[in-house]
Amino acid sequence: MKELLQDSMFFGVAVSVGTFLLATAIKKRWNFFLFNPLLLSITATIAALLIIGIDYQHYNNGAKYLSYLLTPATVALAIPLYEQTMLLKKNFTAIIVGIASGVLMSFVSIFAMAMLFRLGHTEYVTLLPKSITTAIGISLSQELQGYVAITVTAIIMTGLLGNIAGGLICRILGIKHPIAKGIAIGTASHVMGTAKAMEIGEIEGAMSSLSIAVAGCMTVGAAILFEGLI
């Protein structure tokens, strides 16, 4: 059984999409916030791999074709953004200053907590890119000589949090304006948060898409100022 599935090209994709489908059905039936389709399907897929005894490399042989679609999907985020161009032009200052505040807060809070946990330089720069999209985060972590695999993990944990609780956190914090919500979710939790913002509303989704690109580039630019602090 294990040997048979291990070398399959379709096992990884089938399990991932299958658990996602199941998780979406569960979410529809019981609308509890921890029943996040992404969280449930990740947990179920990991459980399946551990139970059957298939390692990540073999799983990813098939599953990587799902990741492969991420570039064209991110390119397509320009579509909702284009549909909201008027809004973008009209509120340009608020949007750019908002994203910049988020990027600055990301650096300051990571720096402060790294001091608190007495992290070394390598651990500190590993976490610096955690709020930006994986592809930019990987390059930045490499550039700063962090542990790239751990950067990816922190980015995914951040994104997952945004995807699960982005709407809830905004509600608790009193962020009500659709533009502000989109900027908050996109700046803090990149593409994974944006997937959620898309579900909340068109304006939220478009603003969140914009934030990924802008926050990513701002982070790369500002990282030089912050990397030497620890």
């Binding site: 990740i42 320009a78 579509i79 284009y82 600055l104 999209t133 592809a135 951040t158 593409v191 990513g216």
Partner: protein
């Protein structure tokens, strides 16, 4: 036919983004170049919205699934992180909430301020 054309346009833009990523020595990924190219092309009318809309929206719709493989990769990095796993989790959660608060409230404050100015 229509959907094939739409898919090909998005793939072609991804290709250009990939080439730019390789040619320009900046840590900007293919997808971000691609997003900027498609946005510019739509704004200038070079590409009509109807030429990418349905396939693009479909890709966005199924996007959450695309994160599963990367996240399942956690089972591999788990061991390497054990030394500072608590720090990673606390920093990830706290700073995400703080970033949302800063970005969201700053945007909201400026929007409100501008709204008042316009009314005057």
């Amino acid at each position: 036919m229509k959907y094939i054309i739409q898919f090909e346009i998005i793939l072609a833009i991804s290709l250009v983004g990939e080439l730019l990523n390789r040619l320009i020595p900046l840590p900007i990924p293919a997808s971000i170049y691609g997003m900027a190219i498609l946005f510019t092309a739509l704004c200038t009318g070079l590409i009509k919205l109807s030429a990418v809309k349905e396939t693009g929206k479909f890709l966005i719709y199924i996007m959450p699934m695309m994160f599963i493989p990367a996240a399942v990769g956690l089972i591999e990095t788990w061991e390497a992180m054990q030394d500072f796993i608590v720090a990673i989790i606390v920093i990830s959660i706290v700073s995400t909430i703080l970033v949302m608060a800063a970005a969201g409230h700053m945007t909201q404050i400026i929007l409100k301020f501008k709204g008042k100015e316009e009314k005057k």
